[in-house]
């Protein structure tokens, strides 16, 4: 039979043909390797250090570059699109122009925690064209940027001296700064503080069935059972966010049962699962998690937290556990959220109340939004932006619609009554009672994904899934610890300042580095700038407040 083509690959090749094919492949590979090497070669960088005299009476050594461009436009990479973040951005942009003389542009990229933006930011940094500024959470999130960046920690502006110069070390709630300091180094500037571990309660529903407000855990359990007996769905724990809402409920219960010390051990993955007390606490947490989720609103599987809150606002469900961004979001559906004070709870016109998760009133779960600044041509403009945004005046504009400020001397400028309550609790919580919300930046991204998935599965399958969930929890905590150890090798092994760790807790590799194969000089190494820190802490509040009025005077 005559072949259609004079040649067929399927019929065997002559040695010449094979040689040609191999040669082509080799040439392509060589070209690919050479091109890859040339294109991925790191950009050359030059670091210039200058001494800058601050606007007030002290001198601080601040690294800066001399390559700033005259453009007054600053692009801020953010994941805030719709909702409260979008509204707050629309308020801050004209204020930045008026008081800092900068044209701020927001480049919103979807994905909480910068899941999408991270690729773009790191690629641009690698290519030598970093964005001016980007949004990042406090907690371990920034470490993932440092680990992936070409020059490690030096890729980003060390914000510690700036925060000292701007007076934040004196004027801000100290725990807020501790939550973003890695072994004393702050790599981003805080712009607002959210509160996690809160419960949204429809008080009209409770009044209708004559039930007490859940100030404590046992009342929450009682109300849950009573509402269910009346044929009302007590809880909405939606599944449309991929397990994030489940994580919120689980960690809130754990915080109530175990307290902040053990909760913070989860942040580092150091919780001792072989300890019988810990095992008991985990079992109890799992028990209550399954208990509450068994009272879930029908159709929870596909709902998001926003839809869940609409059910709360409508009085179809009594309880939703989440963070206080829900309070800001409520403004968009014209719902006012009140604090858990008797005058509101007993007021028949009040329907939605935000309260600390029952049993956690004395603790504060932080979720802090910040601005990171890569070293680059727009560094100075980005610093100006961060300076205004973090100033008292900037906070007044920004936090009206978004979370609360961290200034210790703030007043009630908030759009929602519940915000003022959260703010007062923030400034009155003692240092050891702070935790960083696990489900919002308190653990590394991959660990977060594992836990989300594990808890969503547990809710779906019920008790039979406990063994798998416990296994997921243990392995994800091991992963968390490994990632912190990797950070420790970079000298960023814990949250807080030397001598002042976040929530008073040092992970064990800081206290006993040799047991983890670490050298002493990677741990508790004081940032050189920290030498200036202690005297500053002792300075009177008034000195720094001069700086806070800087923009007011402009």
């Amino acid at each position: 039979m005559k072949r259609k083509y004079p040649y067929s690959l399927a019929k065997g090749l002559t040695s010449t043909q094979i040689a040609v094919i191999v040669a082509v492949i080799v040439i392509v590979i060589i070209i690919g390797v050479v091109a890859g090497f040339v294109l991925t070669k790191g950009p050359s960088t030059t670091a210039v250090t200058t001494t800058v005299t601050s606007t007030f009476t002290t001198t601080t050594t601040i690294p800066s570059t001399t390559t700033s461009t005259p453009s007054n436009t600053v692009v801020f990479y953010t994941w805030w699109g719709g909702g409260d973040g979008g509204e707050a951005l629309s308020q801050i942009i004209p204020a930045v122009k008026q008081y800092a003389g900068l044209q701020m542009q927001t480049y919103s990229i979807p994905g909480a925690g910068g899941t999408n933006a991270k690729y773009a930011i790191l690629a641009l940094i690698q290519a030598g064209k970093p964005p001016a500024a980007f949004q990042v959470h406090y907690g371990p999130e920034m470490i993932s940027y440092v680990e992936a960046a070409p020059n490690g920690i030096h890729t980003f502006v060390n914000m510690t001296p700036y925060l000292i110069q701007w007076g934040l070390l004196n004027n801000a709630v100290y725990a807020v700064l501790q939550a973003g300091a890695y072994n004393g180094t702050l790599l981003s500037v805080p712009i607002n503080v959210h509160r996690g571990a809160v419960l949204y309660v429809n008080t009209q529903l409770l009044r209708e069935y004559n039930l007490p407000f859940p100030y404590n855990f046992s009342t929450l359990v009682y109300d849950t059972v009573q509402l269910a007996n009346h044929g009302v769905s007590p809880w909405i724990i939606p599944g449309g966010d991929g397990g994030w809402d489940q994580f919120n409920v689980w960690e809130d219960i754990f915080l109530y049962l175990a307290g902040p010390q053990l909760y913070n051990e989860l942040i580092y993955g150091t919780l001792n699962f072989s300890n019988p007390t810990v095992q008991k606490l985990i079992n109890e947490t799992n028990y209550w998690f399954l208990n509450f989720t068994s009272y879930n609103y029908p159709g929870w599987q596909s709902m998001s937290w926003e839809q869940a809150f609409a059910l709360i606002a409508q009085g179809k469900v009594a309880f939703q556990a989440n963070g206080n961004w829900v309070t800001n979001y409520a403004s968009y559906i014209n719902v006012t959220v009140y604090p858990p004070l008797p005058q509101y709870i007993s007021n028949s016109s009040v329907s939605v109340v935000e309260t600390p998760f029952p049993g956690t009133q004395h603790y504060y779960a932080l979720v802090i939004d910040t601005i990171g600044i890569p070293v680059g041509p727009q560094e100075q403009q980005a610093l100006q932006l961060a300076h205004f945004w973090s100033s008292y005046q900037g906070q007044e504009v920004w936090t009206k619609y978004k979370a609360v400020t961290y200034y210790k001397n703030g007043t009630d400028w908030y759009a929602q009554p519940a915000q003022w309550y959260d703010y007062q609790q923030l400034i009155n919580t003692s240092e050891q009672n702070f935790v960083y919300q696990l489900s919002d930046g308190g653990v590394f991204d991959d660990v977060f994904a594992q836990i989300d998935s594990g808890l969503l599965t547990l809710q779906q399958v019920g008790k039979v899934g406990l063994s798998a969930w416990n296994s997921t929890l243990v392995s994800s905590m091991q992963q968390e610890q490994n990632e912190w150890l990797a950070a420790a090798k970079l000298g960023l092994g814990y949250l807080g300042f030397p001598g002042h760790p976040f929530a008073g807790y040092y992970p064990p590799w800081v206290t006993n580095p040799s047991a983890y194969g670490l050298t002493n000089n990677t741990q508790k190494t004081s940032n050189s700038v920290m030498l200036f820190l202690l005297p500053f802490l002792a300075l009177p509040l008034a000195i720094a407040s001069i700086d806070n009025k800087y923009y007011l005077l402009k």
């Binding site: 091109a35 999408n116 290519a127 926003e306 609409a310």
Partner: protein
């Protein structure tokens, strides 16, 4: 059963199946359309398929204003990208087609190998090329520019165009090309006068395919656009979904507005797309 009735029943069943499939496909469009007309609260509190109790144009007005520039940007990027990719892809496919039989067994083998490598390029995840691609565009001074994005998209879509067009060009009778060559016609003229006109349905199919791919491309504009004014539709649409709050009515309205242009292209050129697929089914095998 009456033999006369059989074709009627058969046709009825066909149409019934088509109707069911059509309804299933139209449900998302319906949901997008009606939820854009709901208020902030109603879109959260009512089922997604229930029409609005009170129609409001707020979301559509807001979205149209903010999507105007991204829509224009996307058109500026997608039109040249798709035409260049499909046209150069067609030329490449013709080259490999002629190479596969023109000279010798060796040239045929080279054609097969090279074309396989090019085809392989269409399967490389764009994310895997992130760093070298960004550095290349930055080193060329094309970051955050129309040309830079078009160039980056062409890297991925020219091989796609070549791969798709090879299926259509290979069904053109070889005798036509050989006759033209015997008359002394050059390859460029053969391509422009014979191959390209004959493969027009395939070209339009390829064009539409690339338009839709480029229009929806998220990753390349995500990285190579650094200022809000250059934002493309694929990024702008998703920016209504914030981490701490999704504006669902705006999101639905944005989805609807963003899909109008590719939808219109498909409606007007859809018959050519179908013709192209039919030509493919009629004997296209690739180079």
């Amino acid at each position: 059963m009456d033999k006369k009735m059989r074709p009627v029943i058969k046709a009825s069943l066909h149409y019934l199946a088509l109707a069911i499939v059509s309804v299933i496909w139209l449900i998302p469009v319906y949901a997008m359309l009606i939820n854009g007309f709901k208020s902030n609260f109603e879109v959260l509190s009512t089922p997604v398929l229930v029409p609005p109790t009170k129609i409001t144009f707020e979301a559509y007005v807001s979205v149209l204003l903010s999507l105007a520039k991204p829509l224009i940007n996307s058109l500026i990027i997608v039109i040249p990208t798709s035409f260049i990719s499909a046209f150069l892809g067609a030329m490449g496919a013709y080259f490999f087609y002629t190479l596969s039989y023109s000279f010798s067994r060796a040239s045929s083998a080279i054609s097969d190998v090279l074309f396989s490598l090019i085809s392989l390029a269409t399967f490389i995840p764009q994310e895997a090329t992130l760093l070298p691609l960004t550095r290349l565009i930055v080193s060329m001074g094309l970051l955050d520019s129309y040309i830079g994005i078009i160039f980056a998209l062409l890297i991925f879509y020219i091989p796609t165009g070549a791969l798709l067009m090879s299926m259509f060009i290979s069904v053109i009778p070889r005798s036509l090309i050989e006759a033209a060559k015997m008359d002394g016609t050059g390859d460029l003229k053969i391509f422009m006068k014979i191959v390209f006109p004959l493969s027009m349905p395939g070209f339009i199919s390829t064009l539409i395919f690339i338009i839709i791919q480029a229009w929806n491309n998220f990753f390349i504009p995500l990285v190579l656009v650094t200022t809000p004014g250059m934002k493309l539709t694929s990024i702008a649409v998703l920016s209504y979904s914030g981490a701490y709050g999704t504006l669902y009515n705006d999101t639905f309205a944005a989805g609807m507005v963003a899909s109008i242009i590719p939808l219109a292209i498909f409606v007007f050129l859809g018959r050519y797309f179908i013709r192209g697929l039919m030509a493919l089914g009629g004997g296209g095998k690739g180079v």
